[in-house]
């Protein structure tokens, strides 16, 4: 019986995702962000495309306006489509205590990869080897963090599709990491790989280091892009199912 009460409580929590609009818009934002990161990594230097992407990603006000516009579009869509069909729900305000708990949990989750990195620095023979293989482990680690967040939030809201989304995001992170490994990491001089010093990098490793950073951005861009596609597809499927179940608006009689 308690399980059924929990299910009913989760229905309210997950109502924001009932129509698929939130996932579609979040997916769209992820695709834009991933696309910018990817283009930044692959566009030839000094080309028009590189300059355009650089300017677009540097203007914070454009990002802020984009996010606000996305929220307004979401409100409008829900007002026009969802609320007349399945009703209106005002979600609970997050209290200061809940916010602090949430921040604490997020910090704990984010600390895990940092601890992993610190452990790698301590136990691996080459400190720089860890840094130089960043295009491989960074997307896999980020994919894991995103997948955990996705699954946990899905469990809290009773949305099983978030498990599949989390699994796909994790898989994408691993595939991107393996792909970077397969195409080969930038070539570093042997003496640089064997060094454990964190002192300034010598001139000889500057170019491969820049390539490593660039390829890490490409990895993050790819992962963000795939995550965005996963969200958007899930949103479209959810929307189609919702529209099929609720084809016409309902009117409460006066």
């Amino acid at each position: 019986m308690d399980g059924q009460i929990d299910t009913a409580m989760k229905r309210g929590r997950g109502y924001w995702f009932v129509d698929g609009f939130t996932e579609m818009i979040a997916g769209g934002l992820f695709i834009l962000l991933g696309g910018i990161l990817l283009l930044r990594g692959i566009a030839p230097q000094h080309s028009f495309l590189a300059q355009f992407v650089s300017v677009a990603s540097d203007i914070s006000i454009v990002k802020a306006i984009g996010i606000i516009a996305a929220i307004l579009v979401l409100w409008w869509l829900k007002n026009q489509f969802t609320y007349p069909r399945t009703g209106f729900v005002r979600e609970k305000w997050v209290t200061v205590t809940q916010m602090l708990t949430l921040i604490g949990k997020a910090i704990l989750i984010l600390i895990l990869p940092v601890l992993g990195l610190v452990a790698a620095f301590i136990f691996l023979p080459s400190v720089r080897g860890v840094l130089f293989s960043m295009p491989v482990w960074f997307p896999a680690g980020l994919g894991l963090v995103l997948a955990v967040l996705c699954v946990l939030s899905g469990e809290w809201m009773g949305l099983r599709r978030f498990r599949l989304m989390g699994a796909l995001i994790l898989l994408a992170g691993i595939v991107v990491g393996v792909w970077q490994l397969v195409i080969g990491l930038p070539n570093f001089p042997v003496e640089a790989l064997q060094s454990n010093s964190l002192a300034a990098l010598p001139e000889v490793v500057r170019a491969p280091m820049a390539e490593t950073i660039n390829r890490t951005f490409i990895s993050i861009g790819l992962l963000t892009l795939v995550s965005g596609i996963v969200f958007a597809v899930s949103g479209v499927v959810t929307f189609l199912r919702y529209r099929k179940e609720n084809p016409v608006p309902y009117r409460e009689e006066a």
Binding site: M1, I5, M9, G12, G87, V89, E91, K92, E252
Partner: protein
């Protein structure tokens, strides 16, 4: 009377009715919800839903806000602090009743 039997007799009868329990559970996780949401989620008839909501309102567990969205009447329901604590207490009382380990 054993502890769990005592809990059984202590169950709040206003909440214990299945339809009202469902309505309270739905409202407990949100700030407020309108009539249509409760109607769709509970799958009760409009008349039946109105009766149960009135019963909860009479018990002081529910607050009703009537407004307009444009020209359409809009009724929102939210749990009162009394309703929230009654629901929490109900869940506490319900737990040991099904705890078979205590035999």
């Amino acid at each position: 009377m054993t502890g769990s039997l005592h809990n059984l007799s202590d169950l709040d009868r206003v909440i214990h009715e299945p339809a009202r329990l469902l309505l309270i559970a739905l409202l407990s996780s949100v700030e407020s919800a309108d009539f249509l949401f409760l109607l769709k989620e509970s799958r009760l008839t409009k008349g039946n839903l109105s009766v149960h909501l009135s019963r909860l309102e009479e018990a002081g567990y529910l607050r009703v806000d009537k407004t307009f969205r444009g020209k359409i009447p809009h009724t929102e329901y939210r749990l009162t602090p009394q309703g929230k604590s009654a629901f929490d207490q109900y869940r506490k009382n319900l737990g040991p009743i099904f705890d078979t380990k205590k035999g």
